[in-house]
Amino acid sequence: MSHIPTKDEICEPENMVYSRTCLLTDNALSYCPGCGHGTAHRLIMEVIEEMNLQADTIGVAPVGCSVLAYDFMNIDMQQAAHGRAPAVATGIKRLYPDKFVFTYQGDGDLAAIGTGETIHVCNRGENITVFFVNNGIYGMTGGQMAPTTLPNMKTATSPFGRDTETMGHPLKITELIANLPGTYFVSRQSVHTPANVRKAKKAIEKAISYQKLNKGLCFVEIVSNCNSGWKMTPLESNKWMEDNMFPYYPLGDIKVPK
């Protein structure tokens, strides 16, 4: 009977084909298993590492599921009040125009309470990068309706489904800010399949590298699942996202540099 290698025998340097970026800390992610946040974190940190930007990067974490992003990202970070990350990032970037400054925000943060800050940071064309994770729900507070919640979608605060007559329509904030002359590159991606992860990483690379050009704001939306908030298994939630979220929030570049 042939020898079955132990874990330690497998984990030899010569067998190493992939490793976690050193810009992610050893802290266990606080996200639910199956959630897209972890992948989004990893992609951003990988790109920052590959571009050798750690010493120049200041990140801004929001309020929402990713409030603790600074526990996982091994970079200097500021935690911002709910919705205010774009203003906080403006303060940093205006005073450190040569640093790489980004915000990482959810849909409630960016498209509800922080709509004013979002619109104006884009309108001023601040040279920052915004990462927007849109899962159509307030995850951290327990699954309440978000500005991006789909019509008829059930949440804790729309238990009979989002009635657009009384609760408004899902806000396509990404299309909205793409219309502003201050934005330079706007893209919508997802991270639920290996192919999508590769595309998302490319968009993130562009959004980060464009910041050096000082041409305006770069914005990458990642449409993500919230299997806990949606009350589904991770696989079901990915399928539901493809069937329901993507038709309303189609993937692809929305605004690219000419």
């Binding site: 750690q54 010493a55 120049d56 990067t57 200041i58 801004v60 974490a61 409030v67 603790l68 600074y70 091994n74 970079i75 200097d76 970070m77 500021q78 935690q79 911002a80 009040a81 205010r84 203003a87 906080v88 990032a89 403006t90 303060g91 940093i92 205006r94 005073l95 450190y96 640093k99 004013g116 800050e117 619109i119 104006h120």
Partner: protein, 368 residues
């Protein structure tokens, strides 16, 4: 040769922050303080010192821009007037929770609500007792002249960085809008990025291999840790109370009666002291310069000397509570104030002092 100018209070503090080496101002127009932003814009600060000035989309955005800059170690500020300061309370509380140094200016107008654009001192509670959520205090400087508006820019930044705390200059429409002689001093150079790393090693300036990452956050979900954070904050406030009290005594040495007043009310009372002395009344004025920390010990000492104190404020009676706490019932303490943007006249406050303590000798204890 001395650089002496005639300036409005709002212009003086704007010039003061430029010369104090301020790195960034973020603000939103509101009467009666818009001259601050206007002056900074007209003075081309970017060319003069490299200072950044940005008109934000709201007071909320302004204070969070200040947060971002302060968390990155820069000397930053904002200014507003009462309704705008109300909007900023969220950001101020976050800065208290993260112990970020900054300079804030409130050129107070009458409230509540949209109120009036005329001068008032009705934001004392909001400023001194903590207008935002949580157990916190800021250092509060109360200028009573245009010169002090200028001087408190530099002093404010010094105190802010010495204690890693927010410093609020609590002015009012009168001090902001009036012109007086101001003596300007030399330009303080802005800190270089290398100096910032030394002076504020906690600041988020980009993680370098020689240190752990810096995180600015007020969040700790573990109540045991959050209690320790709060206890340490309180220790800092106690230290500030013990070491940073500032006040001015005007004709207090032989005083039998005392005005207690800050800001423009103190100027009015200063005149009332002169008028009172002409009438043969031995009256003095204690002018708190810091409202937090409050000159509690000095007032307790004066309580053993005088027969009564009149706290004069353009409010319904806010600072008077702190005067009474300091005096602790030793002598009667009364309040006189005008509301809604009306400023009392010097003979008006003197008449009230006489009526309360001299003409009607019988003292009725204050009851609430």
């Amino acid at each position: 040769m001395k650089d002496i100018r005639l300036m409005k209070g709002n212009e003086a503090i704007a010039e003061g922050v430029i010369r104090a080496g301020c790195d960034g101002y973020f603000g939103y127009p509101i009467t009666p303080q818009s001259e601050v932003l206007e002056y900074l814009m007209a003075n081309k600060t970017k060319e003069r010192t490299g200072m950044i000035v940005l008109q934000a989309e709201s007071e909320i955005a302004s204070i969070h821009m200040v947060y971002g800059g302060a968390a990155a170690g820069k000397r930053v500020m904002t200014s507003s007037s009462s309704p705008g300061i109300s909007l900023m309370q969220e950001g101020i509380s976050f800065m208290a929770g993260t112990e970020l140094p900054c300079l804030l200016l409130n050129v107070v107008r009458g409230g509540p609500g949209l109120g009036t654009i005329q001068p008032s001192q009705s934001d004392y509670f909001q400023t001194v007792k903590g207008g935002g959520h949580g157990d916190y205090k800021m250092i509060v400087l109360a200028p009573a002249s245009v010169q002090e508006m200028y001087d408190f820019a530099k002093l404010g930044f010094e105190l802010a960085f010495k204690h890693r705390i927010q410093v609020m200059v609590l002015s009012d429409g009168a001090i902001g809008q009036m012109m007086e002689k101001v003596e300007l001093d030399e330009q303080v150079p802005r800190w270089t990025d290398a100096e910032i790393k030394i002076k504020s090693p906690w600041a988020t300036t980009g993680k370098t291999p020689d240190r752990e990452r810096n995180i600015i956050t007020s969040l700790d979900l573990n109540p045991v840790k959050q209690e320790i954070i709060n206890i340490n904050l309180q220790k800092k406030f106690k230290h500030i109370q013990d070491t940073e009290v500032r006040f001015e005594r005007i004709q207090c040495d032989d005083a039998e009666y005392l005005f207690v007043a800050y800001g423009s009310s103190a100027r009015i009372c200063q005149k009332a002291v002169l008028l009172g002395r002409e009438r043969g009344i031995k009256v003095g004025l204690l002018r708190p310069i810091t409202l937090f920390p409050f000159p509690t010990i000095e007032l307790a000492k004066l309580a053993k000397q005088v027969k009564g104190m009149l706290s004069v404020e353009m409010s319904a009676g806010q600072m008077v509570e702190d005067v009474r706490l300091a005096v602790n019932g030793v002598v009667p303490v009364e309040h006189y104030g005008r509301l809604g943007g009306i400023m009392p006249a010097p003979d008006e406050v003197l008449n009230i002092l006489e009526k309360n303590f001299i003409k009607e000798k019988s003292y009725e204890p204050h009851t609430n």
